[in-house]
C-alpha cells in the first residue's frame, strides 16, 4: 500500500516553471530517493509536501488528500538548520517541544538515542562545537524523534566531505534496517541513491519531470562487498543523467 502518492504535480514561481509534471509514490517502510540535477526543483517538491508552497496537482497520504501537512512528515532541510543558540540536546527535542511535549519528557525521550546517533557526550555542546558529520546526525535525530509517518530528507549529506559522507551513508543504511522508516531522500549523489534506496526517481533538469523510475534489487544489508552489481546500476543512472544534459540548452527561457 502506498503511503505517499503524488500525481501530476506542477509548480511555477511567477513565470519560472520549476516542476513540470511529477508523479511518484512511496510505500510503507520503503526508502525512496529523488535524484536530479541542481536547481531541478527537488527542494521545491518538499516545500509543496510540507505546505510551505502551494502548487497544482494531487497529493495523497494513506489515500486521503494531503491537507494537514504538518501531521505526516518529519522534514530535514537542505542545510542542517540547527539553532546555534540551543545546545544539541535542546535542538534534538525541538520537534517534540513544538508538539507540546514537556521539555523534561522530551529530553528523556531523546537522550537514550544519543549513543546510537554517535552523539553521546555532546548533549550539552552547541552546534558550532560539532563536526559536520555530527551536526548532520543531530539534525537527523531531531527529525526522527518526531515519530511522524514519514521522513523527508533534503540532501542530508550534501555538505560533507567524501569520507564522512560514505561513513554517514553506511550508518544511515544500518539505522534504516533497524527502524524501517518510510523515507523520501533528495540527493545529487548517484552512489548514495543506489546504496540507500529501494527505488529511485530520476528527475530532468528544470522544469522537472520524472524521466525514469529505477528499482534497486540489491540485497540488504548493502555491504560495500556487493559493489559490482551496484556499480552497473550506478553507471546506468549516470548515463541517464548525463544524457539529460544536452536537453538543458533548449529548455532555457
Amino acid at each position: 500500500m502506498s503511503r505517499l502518492e503524488v500525481r501530476h504535480v506542477r509548480k511555477a514561481f511567477g513565470g519560472l516553471e520549476v516542476l513540470a509534471d511529477i508523479s511518484l509514490r512511496v510505500d510503507a517502510g520503503e526508502f525512496v530517493s529523488i535524484l536530479g540535477p541542481s536547481g531541478a526543483g527537488k527542494s521545491t517538491l518538499f516545500q509543496l509536501l510540507t505546505g510551505a508552497e502551494h502548487g497544482e496537482g494531487e497529493m495523497f497520504f494513506d489515500g486521503a488528500p494531503l491537507d494537514d501537512h504538518g501531521r505526516h512528515f518529519a522534514f530535514m532541510p537542505q542545510r542542517d538548520a540547527l539553532m546555534p543558540w540551543r545546545r544539541i540536546l535542546d535542538n534534538t527535542t525541538l520537534g517534540l517541544e513544538v508538539q507540546g511535549v514537556h521539555r523534561k519528557a522530551a529530553r528523556s525521550r531523546v537522550a537514550p538515542l544519543f549513543a546510537e546517533f554517535g552523539l553521546a557526550g555532546f548533549e550539552r555542546h552547541f552546534p558550532a562545537q560539532l563536526s559536520g558529520g555530527m551536526r548532520q546526525r543531530a539534525a537527523l535525530l531531531r527529525t526522527v524523534v518526531q515519530e511522524r509517518d514519514m521522513l523527508l530528507l533534503d540532501e542530508p549529506f550534501g555538505a560533507l566531505d567524501a569520507l564522512t559522507r560514505a561513513a554517514m551513508q553506511r550508518w544511515l543504511e544500518q539505522m534504516w534496517r533497524h527502524y524501517r522508516w518510510t523515507a523520501l531522500l533528495i540527493t545529487h549523489d548517484v552512489r548514495e541513491a543506489v546504496f540507500l534506496s529501494d527505488r529511485i526517481y530520476v528527475l530532468s533538469a528544470r522544469p522537472a519531470r520524472v524521466v525514469r523510475e529505477i528499482k534497486v534489487p540489491l540485497p540488504r544489508p548493502r555491504d560495500p562487498a556487493g559493489a559490482r552489481q551496484s556499480g552497473i546500476l550506478e553507471a546506468e543512472i549516470l548515463d541517464i543523467l548525463l544524457n539529460l544534459q544536452p536537453s538543458k540548452g533548449h529548455d532555457h527561457d
Binding site: 505546505g51 522534514f75 537542505q78 543558540w85 525541538l94 513544538v98 555542546h125 558550532a128 562545537q129
Partner: protein, 272 residues
C-alpha cells in the same frame, strides 16, 4: 564545557585587548600636560589634565550630585525606548505593511537636529525628568528598532520552514527562531545606542535643567572654568564607558553559544 561563568583567561584577553587604547589615551594626556606646561597657556583657556583631575577631586561631591540625574535620565529614557522599540519591532514583524507606513516617520525623527529640538522639548515639558527621558528615547529608539527588525529578518529560511513543518504557528516561530536570531543585531544596536543615550541626556540638560552634568557644564563654562567643564566631560565619558562595558558583559552572558563558537572557529555574524 561551555559554562556561563566568567573564565579568568577570557578576562585576561579582554585586558590585552584594552591595552592599546589605554596606552594611546595615556600618551595623549602626557602630550597635553607637557604642552600646557611649556606653552604657558592660561588655565582659564586650556587647563592641564593634572589640574582637571585636581579640580574634579575638589568638586567631586558636586560632580556626583549632578551625575546622578544624568544617569537616571539616561537609564529611564533608554529603558522606555527599548520597550517601545521591542513592542513595535514585533508589530512590524507580524504586520509587514506597517513597516512601510512607519519607517519614513522614524527616519525623519532621526534627521531632527538635537540642538534645535532639545530647547523646544524643555520648553514644552519643563526642567524635570520628562524632557530628558524623551530626548534620550528619541535618539535611541530608531537604532534599536532597526537593529531588531533586521535581526528578525536574518533568521535562516530553513529554520522557519522546518518549524512550520513541525506544526509551529507564527508566534511560535517568532519566539523560537526569529527572536534568538536577532540577538547579535540587538546587542550591536545596544552598544551604539547606549552611547547616544548619554549624549542625548546631556544635551537635554544643557538646554535647561535643575541638575545634571549638562547644566553643570553650562554653568562651569559661564563661570570661565574650563577645568570643571572638562571634569564633567570626563565623568560623562566614564559613564558611557561603564554602560558600554555593561552591554558587552550582558551580551557575553546572554549568548554563551557565541563563546563556544569562538573557541572552534573565528567568530561569524554581524558584530562590530
Amino acid at each position: 564545557m561551555a559554562s556561563s561563568s566568567f573564565n579568568p583567561r577570557h578576562l585576561a584577553g579582554l585586558f590585552a585587548q584594552a591595552a592599546p587604547a589605554v596606552i594611546s589615551i595615556g600618551l595623549l594626556l602626557v602630550a597635553w600636560e607637557l604642552y600646557v606646561n611649556h606653552s604657558g597657556i592660561k588655565p582659564t583657556v586650556l587647563p592641564a589634565p593634572s589640574r582637571v583631575l585636581e579640580q574634579a577631586m575638589l568638586n567631586r561631591d558636586a560632580l556626583l550630585d549632578n551625575a546622578i540625574p544624568t544617569i537616571r535620565a539616561t537609564l529611564i529614557g533608554f529603558a522606555c525606548s527599548l520597550s517601545a522599540a521591542f513592542a513595535l519591532s514585533m508589530l512590524v514583524d507580524f504586520f509587514q505593511p506597517l513597516r512601510r507606513a512607519l519607517f519614513p516617520v522614524f527616519i525623519v525623527s532621526q534627521t531632527l537636529p538635537l540642538v534645535a529640538i532639545a530647547p523646544l522639548v524643555v520648553l514644552w515639558f519643563g526642567f524635570g525628568l520628562t524632557p530628558k527621558i524623551m530626548l534620550v528615547a528619541l535618539v535611541t529608539f530608531f537604532p534599536m528598532l532597526v537593529a531588531l527588525v533586521q535581526g528578525y529578518e536574518a533568521t535562516e529560511v530553513e529554520i522557519g520552514q522546518m518549524l512550520r513543518s513541525m506544526g509551529a504557528g507564527r508566534w511560535r516561530v517568532f519566539w523560537l527562531a526569529r527572536l534568538p536570531s536577532a540577538l547579535p543585531y540587538f546587542f550591536a544596536g545596544l552598544r551604539i545606542s547606549i552611547t547616544y543615550a548619554v549624549v542625548g541626556a546631556i544635551f537635554a540638560e544643557y538646554a535647561g535643567a535643575a541638575k545634571g552634568l549638562g547644566i553643570y557644564m553650562l554653568n562651569a563654562k559661564n563661570n570661565f572654568r574650563p577645568d570643571l567643564v572638562l571634569a564633567a566631560v570626563g565623568v560623562s565619558a566614564a559613564l558611557t564607558l561603564v554602560l558600554f562595558g555593561l552591554t558587552v558583559l550582558l551580551q557575553h552572558l546572554a549568548m554563551p553559544w557565541e563563546r563556544a563558537a569562538g573557541r572552534q572557529t573565528a567568530g561569524k555574524g554581524p558584530h562590530a
